[in-house]
Assembly symmetry: C2
Homo-oligomer: 426 residues x 2
């Protein structure tokens, strides 16, 4: 009888685990995801701004696992875990497991504000990115048509909440689009100005990065025309008005929300297994505290056993991939009665792109700060080679080359949603 | 004062007209479309089957007209024409015109059957193609999960209604996907069979083509495993059952509708200006009969003055493009008091693709029938070079090359719809 491994979530962590385990035929692996495709979150903002196509950053799971007959894909959402009977209930049925791995990542955190959740556009999924693209483009069309000056001002004001990498990247991209594309394509708007705000509750952008990176990003964005406001917490968003805690307001129809993430709560996991940000507390082997045969990896796991990271690892691709691989090794180790290997994170640094020829990178060993064109080239290479699939890389490189030389891209289609014609609970 | 030219619809005809007129600075051209992009309908079925991306076959109007400051784009839908006051009412406001050109194409014709309209998936727009892709992929996922044998059979039965080029192309593509992709990616379905029907009310496929083309297509599709049923009219589609006029039924959850098109009816155009299929009756200069300063070009125009085509021109790209260009010339002619040039269609033949290395082409001069690999290569070149934009061509060629060598494509992502977060009447 094969060992049944059920992985919930096919992001960086889940896919790294599945691919490493697949080589061992004693495992029967089922990867569960609510989408039928894996995607590359670091480049979502390029889909949102029309620089890349969905297909450049996503890949169907079934194609990904074609070569491995012992990996099954199952579309569905996790509803409940039954640790006693070692069973999970999905939106599409039940599955028995010998070992269960939760690799469910995070979702947008609105900090309990229903108005923001309802009216702002988040940036966590492919659908979010397409919604942002449509919303932006429709706002521009509407701005060319309206005769109400106040309405037009609200349509041409964009507020990005959250000064992390995504917020910085979206702000930089929109600032460049405003400069190079707006005048060429929207002649009716030539005498009007797009106002672009980037706001964050903290006192700096890119909080986990070095002070040099933070300062360079701030200066660069300001030079590009972005109105950066720090120490600014969003309190509410109603009637086209963003209200801040300090009483200030900005009138806009476009609030983009990249201000925070939170993990999911699972029915069947006891209260005491959750830590800060609802992340699941795990030991050095990614086992969820207080439960047997259940593991958590990636953004949703909070491991405090790694000496260099007593507050847990950053919620980035690298810790997720490394945890997935280490867990694969440990599942094999325990199969052969070998000792388990505690996880230690090898920090490869972090980077953010601000615009054309403008990026920052903090490298850990040797400790170094790199900025500008060199950091930008590094960013391009790291991201190009992180795209899992050869196909994606070539078309992405092609799209980027075109964008570089023309300062323009052609993916600004508003594709309006329509539901599929199939009664389905998938 | 510039002459105000308003073009409703940015398909082959409308874009050909706008591009030709744009060079003349005495015209102020406004192109109106309900989408913000032009697209290439002959390749829609490749988007529907996951072989091409939306960006390969579509292009934003604003980018298309970047170089011509006297062409405006206006997003909106035509609501009403007021020929007396020379004004059109759009969903997004009013426009005055000196000359109005209707280039609105056709829409799916359900022949009055509401059940078919509600439950079948059509194939006329980009959204239709994405709906077809999602519906197909969701049906496959559901088929792997269900334990109800009857339900699974209905999910693995596909009925394509309409044996024109689109129906033939979709059938051929799905037959090949079933052969090369299904077994590799859906191991759970390996012992089940996909049943693929292509049905048409006429006694042959590809009715306007030569008998040789019709016979070759029929034989080829049958060899590929497609169950072709001719002289079969769909009567109704309810409770997962396609009912035919002759009493036969097929149980399926997937009815794809390519069985007919019809033109739109416009508020403000008198009853007597419409001909067969609601097409607008036009004279040899594409002027709508009984109206002044209003023209119709492309699929929606019915011209019986062209001696070789007493029943009107076929609803294809070539007549649309040629009419658009001829009308541009005539609008200039009338500006300079020169005689108008009646339209004559130069037939360049017609072709259809059935599958890998399998296509048919009827050439008019010299009259020739070409089939198989040679016709397939011709089809690829004609379609590649008809894609208006250089960018699209390169990525499309790349996508096709990959598809040819791998017999596979990677665009099988189910992107679920979600509405944009902007209150808008666009």
């Amino acid at each position: 009888m094969k060992k049944q491994i059920v992985i919930i979530g096919g992001g960086f962590a889940g896919v790294a685990l599945a691919k490493r385990l697949a080589k061992n035929k004693t495992f029967q692996i089922t990867l569960v995801d609510k989408n039928n495709y894996n995607f590359f979150p670091p480049l979502l903002y390029q889909v949102a701004t029309g620089f890349l196509e969905v297909g450049n950053i996503s890949y169907p799971f079934r194609k990904l696992f074609q070569r491995w007959p012992n990996v099954y894909f199952r579309m569905g959402e996790l509803k409940r875990i039954d640790p006693k009977n070692k069973q999970v209930e999905l939106s599409t049925g039940r599955l028995d497991y010998d070992e269960l791995i939760l690799a469910t990542g995070t979702e947008s955190n609105y900090f309990g504000n229903d108005n923001v959740q309802k009216n702002a556009v988040p940036m966590k999924t492919i659908e979010d990115a397409l919604t942002m693209r449509n919303t932006l483009l429709l706002a521009m069309e509407k701005a060319t048509i309206t005769r109400d000056e106040k309405e037009r001002r609200k349509l041409l004001t964009i507020v990005i909440a959250g000064g992390g990498p995504t917020g910085v990247e979206v702000a930089g991209m929109l600032a460049e689009m405003g400069k190079f594309i707006l005048e060429k394509e929207y002649p009716q708007l030539s005498k009007h100005e797009v106002q672009l705000y980037l706001v964050d509750g903290a006192s700096s952008l890119l909080s986990p990065m070095s002070t040099k990176s933070q300062n360079y990003s701030l200066e660069t964005l300001r030079k590009m025309g972005v109105r950066v406001k720090l120490n600014k917490m969003v309190k509410d968003y109603t009637e086209d008005t963003v209200q801040f805690v300090d009483g200030e307001t900005i009138e806009t129809k476009l609030l983009f929300w990249t201000a925070g993430v939170t993990s999911k709560v699972f029915d069947g996991i006891p209260e005491e297994s959750y830590g800060r940000g609802r992340r699941l507390l795990v030991n050095a082997f990614n086992q969820v505290e207080g439960l047997e045969h259940i593991y958590a990896i990636g953004d949703t796991a909070l491991m405090r056993a790694d000496p260099a990271w007593p507050q847990g690892h950053p919620q980035l691709a690298q810790p997720a991939i490394q945890q997935g691989r280490n867990l694969a090794r440990n599942l094999e180790n325990s199969l052969h009665g070998r000792a388990l290997r505690p996880f230690t994170y090898r920090d490869r640094g972090s980077m953010a792109i601000i615009g054309r020829s403008k990026a920052v990178a903090d490298l850990p060993k040797p400790k170094m700060f790199i900025k500008g064109f060199v950091a930008w080239i590094m960013w391009l290479f790291v991201h190009l080679f992180s795209l899992i699939h050869y196909r994606n890389r070539i078309t992405t490189m092609y799209n980027w080359t075109i964008a570089y030389f023309t300062r323009d891209q052609a993916l600004r289609m508003i594709i309006r949603p329509k539901s599929e014609k199939l009664d389905t609970d998938l």
